[in-house]
Subunit: 221 residues, 2 copies
Amino acid sequence: MTQFDWTERFAGTAALPAAARKRLTATARVIHIKRGDQVFGPMNVPESLFFLYDGRIRVSQSSDSGREIVLYRVEAGDSCVLTTACILAEEAYNAEGIAETDVTAIVLPKPAFDRLAAEEDAFRNFVFAAYSRRLIDLLRVVDDVAFGRIDVRLAERLLMLGDGLKEIRKTHQELASELGTAREVISRVLNDFHKRELISQSRGIITFTNKPELAAIAHSA
Amino acid sequence: MTQFDWTERFAGTAALPAAARKRLTATARVIHIKRGDQVFGPMNVPESLFFLYDGRIRVSQSSDSGREIVLYRVEAGDSCVLTTACILAEEAYNAEGIAETDVTAIVLPKPAFDRLAAEEDAFRNFVFAAYSRRLIDLLRVVDDVAFGRIDVRLAERLLMLGDGLKEIRKTHQELASELGTAREVISRVLNDFHKRELISQSRGIITFTNKPELAAIAHSA
DNA sequence: TAGCTTAAGTGACAATGTCACTGAAGGCAT
DNA sequence: ATGCCTTCAGTGACATTGTCACTTAAGCTA
């Protein structure tokens, strides 16, 4: 495998001394995952630790009844701590990570992780910070699900997903899975948004026609 | 302040060499918090890291509209990583910790924490494990709130709170805050449980009359 | 025992979730 | 093009949960 210096990419590794970085590029494997493939899941618990070099991973949790909710997304430069958590806690969970784009990731064997965490402050702080961000992400999810109105949450999510774009290519079912609700509910709310001329719809595509007003709804809580 | 050896109590410190432990008992402060007092909160972000020697802390999140949900409880021997998370992530959140009993805790200044995390594998692993447990706790909360029925969740919670007891001393409002719902909802469900002769009620007290059947409901999902 | 404070009950309604469908769009094979 | 076929979206009836505005009741305390 070609060695390239991915260590520039991570806050936790860019600051490391050259020797440590060289050792890292030698020990860690670089893997490629195709868009749509599962990165990890209940049936597919990784043995190693995971750093996302390029692409985006969607982490979601699904219920027994088949509904699903997106917990957060891991972006390039971040570590996927949920896999780490599972290795450490050795507990069951039913979250899975799906590559939302083609993904390039760094897989670091546990011994190398341990050594790095022991020896390098920058790396250790990076990992702690990654954990913290996820904890706080999850606090937000709990808050939204427990206390949020779904029209507000949907408006928010539409804007997030369509940031800088004129349209979003997602089905009602996919949006329902974003928010952990049912397709029919999304259809109803989108219909309402349509009647209020905030969006227009066609099969699998939602087009923004009034982002500011949508933003007003998103922030009305 | 009297120095006593609390280091026995924590998985992350019991295994440390005597020198490190001695240093710890010298650097860390032991604090006492009275039942009902706030341990941390949005207005009260601690500067230091927190290990629970004795007692129990209830960590909950509240909404703008005044509703509240219990996220998890920190038991003796565990670390309260949410405070840690906040220090590290320096992000806003609206969770708070309340002492559910009188509490004795160890407060470790950040520099001491850093040194220990760097030098001692056992300590570092302990902290990582504590983070992981909380992440997984929160996954469970998300699952419950997003996908769970409230009768099931209430039955579950009643059994958890009343483990080994014949009755629970909690108001409907307090139970509502456990599950992140409204008092009226709890009243309705408890009334139903009462009609089915699973519990009996009086002001502020719920008495079990049929735990096995309640357990059946709790596990029926 | 009267008054006060907090806990719990109630009914009407709104929001969200579920179910069992129907209809409609677009791809594909002939 | 025409007619399948699969997937996506719409619909109405109903169940569950949340909200609101109140009433009633319990237990304390003066």
